[in-house]
Symmetry: C2
Subunit: 314 residues, 2 copies
């Protein structure tokens, strides 16, 4: 079974990590949101891309989910003491990623090619593809603080501003990165990781070509919302602010007709009927991933469910 | 007595450090060569400016003379492992200087203003001024390896290429940094530090306005050459390759009519007659600075000699 996963940052990376433990690199690749990318300290930072890569490489900080393990903060502290911006923490080892990437982008290399080289260097075997080589920027339009790039909303303002709408600036000019549409075309199963639908998966879907490529594929999503709360980050808050009660079924409804199957937590059993009414094949299970074992267990269930969905949709 | 020193990197910084220990910040400022500046890892590096600042701030690495003390190399090692350029070492703390500077330059701030803020942050009291806010780039034209920027010649190729000529690209468009000409105008005494005449002092003099400003000033130089050898770096090799026997008097002759006084090492006593014949007031002393005491001792002698030269030239 050939599988493609769409992923954002920390939450998505966990499931992707489990899937990578079960699938060979010939049968699994990850397409990562780059709408979060931004320039900071004069460097191009790709938070989701790095989180997925660091996680798959076994280099991620297990406590935070983002950044590198055994990180030091020497440059960050020195930048801070020189009056440089300190609202986004960059570790010494992580910094090298942004320095080399920024330089190579400046030399005209594509983000996807740079990422491929980095992955080799980090000893990774599964392909990780940015959603696009062209810049797409998630802009958060807020009710109370104007419009801002996603990292400003998320990190600088701690996702406190009230969300009014999202914009994926540049999406209409962007193309999927080389190899992405082929990978989807060849895939038996596409998985939407338990990432934020608004700002992790939607930016990918906003790039021309993705929705069309996914239309006739078997797509299953894993809910990032359990018991009305987001497992991590502002997903539930966003649903609320956009006038939608946050719930697993709200996530399924958000993806709508793209979904063939939907995996949500057993504590949301009361939503089962709604999902079934929408003719989305449901799987109720424990979707909370606390450790490496959970990642593999859930990935295993996702793949088994995928097989079931595939056989039922044939 | 108001004093201005012109300085390059490590050698010049030592004397400047001694002078700063003896003179209040109202009476002493340093003008630093920026011809060595270059872009590396996408960052603006100002090697001489940083060496002088780190030295005056008491932050310099005492073993190398450049870079910061107690430095770590985490980012550098990670950049290297990602295939980034590793011929110019940048420490983690030092990196912050380049990151913040590059960002502030990109925001339109002047190098002199940025440097002033940095100096405050490092707790320095004496003004350190870049020779110009506009880029001037020392290009080394070599007989055997074409033309290259100074840091490529100096660090990447370990000053092995044979020098044919120097070019200070951009000097004709550059202006002295704000405050520099006023400082020279107000100075009783101008000191050329024991820096490389070709690539540390000449780039400063190549910027329009400096030679004219210095013409009627009392200028004394300290030789960077002792016993035919450079105290540090490629000065002697450069003299040789340009067809001039390296010697203290060759340095004095290089500066020519700009000099009122010249300080050189007692082991070069046989050059005394030549210097006197050129009507340059000589001082023979021990100009080798091995430790902090030497810096202050030589600075003391330079200032006393300056008083003598001043009284004789009045």
């Amino acid at each position: 079974m050939k599988v493609v996963a769409l992923a954002g940052g920390v939450g998505g990376a966990k499931l992707v990590d489990g899937l990578a433990a079960l699938l060979p690199p010939t049968d699994f690749c990850v397409i990562v949101n780059t709408g979060d990318d931004f320039d900071h300290w004069g460097l191009r930072i790709c938070p989701d891309l790095d989180t997925v890569c660091y996680t798959l490489a076994g280099l991620a900080n297990p406590k935070t989910g983002w950044g590198l393990r055994d990180e030091t903060w020497t440059t960050f502290e020195a930048v801070k003491s020189l009056g440089g911006p300190d609202w986004f923490r960059l570790g010494d080892k992580d910094l090298a990623t942004h320095l080399v990437r920024t330089q190579q982008l400046g030399q005209g290399h594509a983000l996807s090619a740079i990422t491929r080289e980095f992955c080799l260097g980090w000893g990774m075997v599964h392909p990780v593809l940015p959603m696009s080589d062209e810049p797409v920027r998630t802009i958060v339009h807020t009710a109370d603080q104007g419009s801002m790039g996603f990292q400003h909303y998320f990190v600088k303002y701690g996702f406190q501003p009230v969300v009014k709408a999202f914009e994926f600036r540049g999406a209409d000019q962007a193309k999927p990165a080389p190899g992405v549409l082929d990978a989807i075309d060849l895939a038996d199963l596409v998985i939407f990781s338990p990432s934020n639908p608004w700002v992790s998966i939607d930016p990918i879907l906003s790039v021309r070509g993705y929705r069309q490529a996914l239309e006739n594929k078997v797509v299953i999503a894993v809910s990032p919302i359990v018991g009305g709360y987001a497992l991590k980050g502002p997903a539930a808050k966003m649903f609320n602010e956009l006038g939608i009660r946050p719930s697993a079924s709200a996530v399924a409804s958000h993806y709508g007709r793209l979904l063939t199957g939907f995996i949500f937590d057993q504590q949301d059993q009361e939503e089962l009927e709604k999902i079934e009414r929408w003719r989305i094949i449901p799987l109720l299970t424990n979707i909370i991933m606390k450790d490496a074992q959970d990642r593999i267990r859930l990935a295993q269930e996702v793949l088994e469910f995928g097989e079931t969905v595939l056989s039922r949709s044939r």
